[in-house]
């Protein structure tokens, strides 16, 4: 593959940015699986709700309010979803969980289509985020005119900040300590007097909230139409599998890996369409637990 340094840099940035959205969604997915052991196929629909909410608020009241309102609303929706539906499926086999959450995803998608129509709703980038960054000003090894959209770089930063916040929550707070213990052995925590289910409910809400953040910043990038939820769900789910179910570090690593893979195979359409499945198959054959997964899952 003959690639100039310019082309390489652009492909890397594109890979990072593609990966960022995947990571944000996969993070929520893997958190929910790691704590509750639930395969939540409705997660793409949560992202869908987030972008529709965000674009509606943005077009009516401005981006700032969208940023402030959407994540907390998604948190509440997540908690309601968990209490109302998901918690009845904890002890059911994974196939049941997949069916019910997938069914829910389809219902939500059609509902949104019925309310908003099937057409795309333009989500304009706020003025402070608009424009391009002159990369050649910052990176001396680039020659000539090399630019990248500012908003996509902002998206990468948001992803980094969110991932860091989640790690901080898990490793530096007492709440996180209990959650990590719960991910290891929820039953035992109960014997120690900890109501772990209620904490997991909060984690579900957090997972939904992360989808909310993804929606606010990712909406202008992925666009707002009913198909977007499903389109992101499958790659995100595969990323969770590749990274290791329940492993947050794995989700981040796999997300970036897939983003890069899609970016670098862009010129080769046949490879580009199947690369994510190819990688999944290889990982499942060679290292079934995923890149950073815990032993015992899928093994």
């Amino acid at each position: 593959m003959d690639m100039t340094l310019n082309a390489f840099t652009l492909s890397v940035l594109t890979g990072l940015q593609l990966g960022s959205i995947y990571v944000l969604i996969a993070l929520g997915l893997t958190l929910i699986f790691g704590t509750l052991g639930v395969v939540n196929f409705a997660h793409g629909a949560l992202y869908l709700i987030a972008i529709y909410l965000a674009v509606s608020i943005n077009n009516a009241l401005g981006f700032g309010l969208a940023l402030i309102l959407v994540p907390p609303i998604l948190f509440v929706i997540g908690v309601l979803l968990e209490r109302g539906l998901i918690q009845r499926f904890y002890n059911r086999p994974h196939t049941d969980q997949i069916l019910v959450t997938f069914g829910l995803a389809i219902v939500l998608q059609e509902l949104l289509k019925w309310i908003f129509g099937a057409n795309n709703i333009p989500f304009a980038i706020p003025s402070w985020g608009n424009g391009i960054i002159m990369l050649h000003d910052y990176l001396p090894f680039l020659e000539g005119f090399v630019v990248y959209p500012k908003w996509r770089m902002i998206l990468v930063v948001v992803a980094i900040v969110t991932v860091s916040a989640v790690f901080a929550l898990l490793h530096l707070t007492r709440f996180g300590l209990v959650i990590r213990a719960g991910m290891r052995d929820a039953e035992m925590l109960q014997f120690l007097g900890v109501n772990i289910n209620r904490r997991f409910m909060i984690v579900f809400g957090l997972g939904a909230m992360i989808a909310g953040i993804a929606g606010v910043f990712g909406g202008p990038v992925t666009q707002v139409s009913p198909e977007v939820g499903m389109q992101l769900l499958v790659p995100s789910f595969l990323i969770v599998v590749i990274g290791g179910m329940g492993s947050l570090g794995g989700a981040v690593l796999a997300g970036i890996l897939i983003g890069m893979a899609q970016s670098f195979t862009a010129p080769y359409i046949y490879l580009n369409t199947i690369i994510i499945y190819l990688i999944t198959v290889i990982i499942l054959l060679v290292r079934p637990r995923g890149l950073l997964g815990a032993k015992g899952v899928f093994e």
């Binding site: 007492r174 290891r184 052995d185 035992m188 007097g193 900890v194």
Partner: protein, 250 residues
């Protein structure tokens, strides 16, 4: 005064009758052993006491309060703790982290979302946790990962975790299972040195342990209590011998 009153508890799994009309009274502050051949229903009874299983019939009163239909974590909050066959610890966390979890659970109740609590408020609880760790002789390993401890030390850690939320009743499910002689001796010492105010119910196969610790013994066979009494009364009890020998023949 009976701290634990198990009254006509019955439980069956499908066609198998695991517990049949079990009557058991545990005196407060005593060390009560529960013995019997394999499959007698000892673990099943413990699971009923910790809220894992629901009996078909009967009632359990803990200090005058009903215990059935209570969540496991609330049972713990009431003051019952269980020691498992394999040490129940969190290997990827440090010894100190392991012990602080139940310490905070004891203070906060089963659920409390206080992420932003100040360090100052947390200090006394962490100190209490450290104290527990020292009392069980693990101060050298305070910040080591729990998974790196020796088997015996893991057992101590588990004790520390259990004692951290100051239980009034301690359930021990075969605490010396698979242990070598000297480890068993250490465990016996550990249990002897424990606070007399804590009621202990021990399920055991090792008769040495039973006779060293128990003030009263109940014998369970095929889901029923067939004998009860002091260690001396049980030693030569014909029904007990029959239960064990009968098992040997099978």
């Amino acid at each position: 005064m009976a701290i634990l009153d198990i009254h006509q508890v019955s439980l069956s799994f499908g066609g198998l009758q695991a517990l049949q009309n079990v009557h058991l009274k545990i005196e407060k502050g005593s060390t009560h052993a529960l013995i019997g051949p394999n499959g007698a229903g000892k673990s099943t009874l413990l699971n009923v006491l910790t809220g894992m299983l629901k009996p078909d019939d009967g009632s359990v009163m803990f200090d005058g309060k009903p215990l059935l239909n209570v969540n496991s974590y609330d049972i713990n909050q009431l003051g019952i703790a269980k020691v498992f066959q394999t040490p129940a610890i969190f290997p990827e966390m440090t010894v100190l982290q392991n012990v602080t979890i139940p310490v905070f659970a004891a203070r906060d109740g089963s659920f409390n979302f206080n992420m932003f609590e100040g360090r100052a408020k947390q200090r006394p609880l962490i100190e209490f946790a450290e104290q527990q760790i020292c009392e069980l002789g693990l101060e050298d390993h305070m910040h080591d990962l729990a998974g790196s401890l020796s088997r015996g030390d893991k057992r101590r850690l588990e004790m520390a975790i259990c004692l951290a939320n100051k239980p009034r009743l301690l359930l021990l499910d075969e605490p010396t299972a698979g242990m070598a002689r000297h480890e068993t001796e250490k465990t016996i010492e550990l249990l002897k040195s424990m606070d007399d105010g804590i009621t202990k119910v021990i399920v055991e196969h090792d008769m040495n342990v039973v006779f060293s610790l128990a003030e009263k013994i109940s014998v369970l066979s095929q889901g029923q209590i067939i004998a009860e009494g002091s260690p001396n009364e049980i030693k030569g009890h014909p029904k007990v011998i029959e239960a064990y020998l009968g098992e040997a023949q099978v």
